[in-house]
């Protein structure tokens, strides 16, 4: 075989080169086709955000019908945002862990440990708020490294590791705070997370900025894909998406800009600081998962760890990293929860905090089997969970019913996940 028959790959065009194949990449310009593709996906078991969005709408209408004078008021909506924020942030961390098909049962109590570290530094050592917050976050990172090493390096199933740590860290919090005690969190900067609001004007400016940024990014991506002949969605779909986001942002901003002071004479209006914090985390973590090599590798390890290993991905490193991210976000969630309650107790992060967060991620569409999930799932699912908690509170339901209903919703979400997975396996989606 002479060397010139060894054609370089570039000159090996097929004669004629008539490009068939990839029909969908070129014919995806019609709106009807995308709608059909979406319906196919849903039928095939890929429900995406559908259950969570439906849940928000149905539950919202239900509680509005039952408590028309209290549920949909600006004051309760601000309260709802406050309630949802710690759940959502904890769930964001769990999305990463769940993407690998792992679980972190200790995430809730880790948020308690980190909040306790912060509260002790604020109250006893008199540290400035940034030192206390940094210490809480570092605690979260270290705990995540520890958990991740036990799972990734030692190879203990995450279920067992985090079940053990669930007990262990509760003891740690109890030791820090002391039996029966609570540590108050009165630092004005930290409390502001919960009891202060963005000035109304600034809220609107940020809202417009967020919408503009989203629109520009989406349209730029669309036009690049189109001009380079890549797979892309029809412009209508992109515009509808931008429109929906804009509508939601405007609606939230408008509701939060209404004066919701309980008594006349004072003005209480503006977006609670918890909302921009959640939005910021949503944007940053979505970027991390969707646009970076690390995020791609997280999905790959969750989808097929062996394939990822053969592709040269350091599976252990990814495994440790998701637990670090999970615990770090648990720390942030603990800080937000402490700001809301104004104190940290030995039971902080215990109880149903974890159940709520796992429920949020799963209701949002993150699979318990790994490989499927997005950061926004935590936001949508977290809202569903918070609406249930908030609405039941307004109804004055007894505590026992609260537990049963929330547990039932988690079970329902997990069943949907399992059934969707079976359906996906059957239909090849």
């Amino acid at each position: 075989m002479s060397s010139d028959t060894v054609a370089p790959a570039t000159s090996a065009q097929e004669p004629g080169g008539a490009p068939s194949g990839f029909e969908d990449d070129r014919s995806a310009d019609s709106l009807g086709a995308s709608v059909r593709a979406y319906v196919d996906r849903v039928r095939g078991g890929d429900l995406g955000a559908l259950p969570a969005v439906l849940g928000i709408l149905v539950l919202g209408l239900l509680f509005f019908a039952l408590r028309p004078e209290t549920f949909l008021t600006p004051r309760n909506m601000a309260n709802l945002a406050d309630q949802a924020a710690p759940i959502i942030i904890l769930a964001m961390g769990l999305v990463f862990v769940l993407l690998l098909g792992e679980i972190d049962l200790s995430a809730g109590v880790v948020s308690g440990v980190c909040a306790a570290v912060m509260a002790k530094l604020l109250a006893d050592a008199g540290s400035p708020w940034y030192v206390a917050v940094a210490a809480a976050i570092v605690t979260g990172v270290l705990i995540g490294l520890f958990t991740g090493s036990l799972v990734g390096l030692v190879g203990i199933p995450s279920f067992v590791v985090t079940l053990a740590l669930f007990l262990g860290w509760q003891g740690f919090t109890l030791r820090l705070i002391g039996e029966g005690g609570t540590v108050p969190v009165r630092d004005p900067v930290i409390s502001a997370l919960s009891d202060k609001n963005l000035p109304v004007v600034l809220g609107w400016v940020l809202a417009v900025l967020v919408i503009a940024l989203y629109a520009v990014l989406q349209l730029r991506r669309w036009s690049t894909q189109r001009s380079k002949g890549l797979a892309h969605q029809p412009l209508t779909v992109v515009l509808i998406r931008v429109g929906v986001i804009a509508l939601v942002v405007v609606l939230v901003t408008a509701v939060m800009s209404v004066d919701r002071a309980p008594a006349p004479g004072v003005v209480l209006a503006g977006i609670p600081y918890a909302i921009p914090l959640v939005v910021l985390l949503l944007l940053a973590l979505t970027f991390l998962l969707g646009r970076t090599g690390f995020g791609r590798h997280v999905y790959a390890v969750g989808g097929n760890a062996e394939a990822a290993r053969r592709a040269g991905i350091d599976v252990t490193r990814i495994r440790v990293a998701v637990f670090v991210i999970g615990s770090t976000l648990a720390a942030v969630s603990g800080i937000v929860a402490a700001a809301r309650l104004g104190s940290v107790a030995p039971g902080s992060g215990g109880g149903n905090a974890l159940l709520y967060a796992v429920g949020a991620a799963v209701i949002g569409g993150t699979s318990l089997f790994g490989g499927r999930g997005r950061v926004r799932d935590a936001v949508l699912g977290g809202l569903v969970v918070a609406i249930i908690a908030n609405g039941l509170g307004l109804l004055g339901t007894e505590a026992y019913l609260n537990f049963i209903i929330t547990g039932g919703v988690l079970l329902l979400a997990a069943s949907v996940d399992a059934l969707a997975r079976r359906r996906a396996a059957a239909t090849g989606h």
């Binding site: 060894v6 194949g21 990449d25 890549l230 646009r291 590798h297 394939a307 040269g312």
Partner: protein, 268 residues
Amino acid sequence: MSESTGRPEDGTPTLELRGVDKSFGVVQVLHGVSMKVYPGQVTALVGDNGAGKSTLIKSIAGIHGIDAGEVLFEGRPVSISGPREAAALGIEIVYQDLALADNLDVVQNMFLGRERKNGFVLDEVSMEQAARDTLSKLSVRTLRSVRQLVSSLSGGQRQTVAIAKAVLWESKLVVLDEPTAALGVAQTRQVLDLVRRLADTGHAVIFISHNMVDVFEVADRVATLYLGRMAADIPISGVSRSQVVELITAGRSGSIGIAPADVAAVEV
């Protein structure tokens, strides 16, 4: 051992093995295996179960070290001590269980572990273009979209993506481990066409198969392992199907194969 009976091969083999031995503990799996794999040709590697095909492949892939013998890549002696070194040389292995992630799309799978980036950010535009170019070059026309999830592909399409993934990296030698094993007739056709095109685009291809029809359809050379020994490594034009079957089952057929004395020694 591996005398050509057909047309003489000229040029440097992409991969040449000389007298490769490999043992696992007391069990010697490969006995002085020699083999030549030429660019632009499909070399079928055949042999019964347990003949040492997998061990040989894993030695080439750098997963098993060899105990003795020489490996020459494009005429230069090399020692492949890991999968990454194999990949750096231009050796890509497509394993039977494909190693694709179902939850990622075609482009994402093809670039898995070797993503192109602008700084931190994945360069989706260039990856999608390169994936599409590679698939077009291989005349792959069966995919609806390069952005569809691998979970929605048929067995033949998955095999196609796995092979295209191997080609993407300017590989020189592509090893295919039973690529048609689990496929239907039409899909086997697609994959065999693709294997042929791989060779036609200048790649050296090792094609492992138990299916003689496939082997004779697509291969230029056939290398037959018999109980860890290379019974024959010859142009396929010089042998008939029944001779290859004989080589696989008895290590010898007429004047080709392991010398009768050796066969007796092996079988003891």
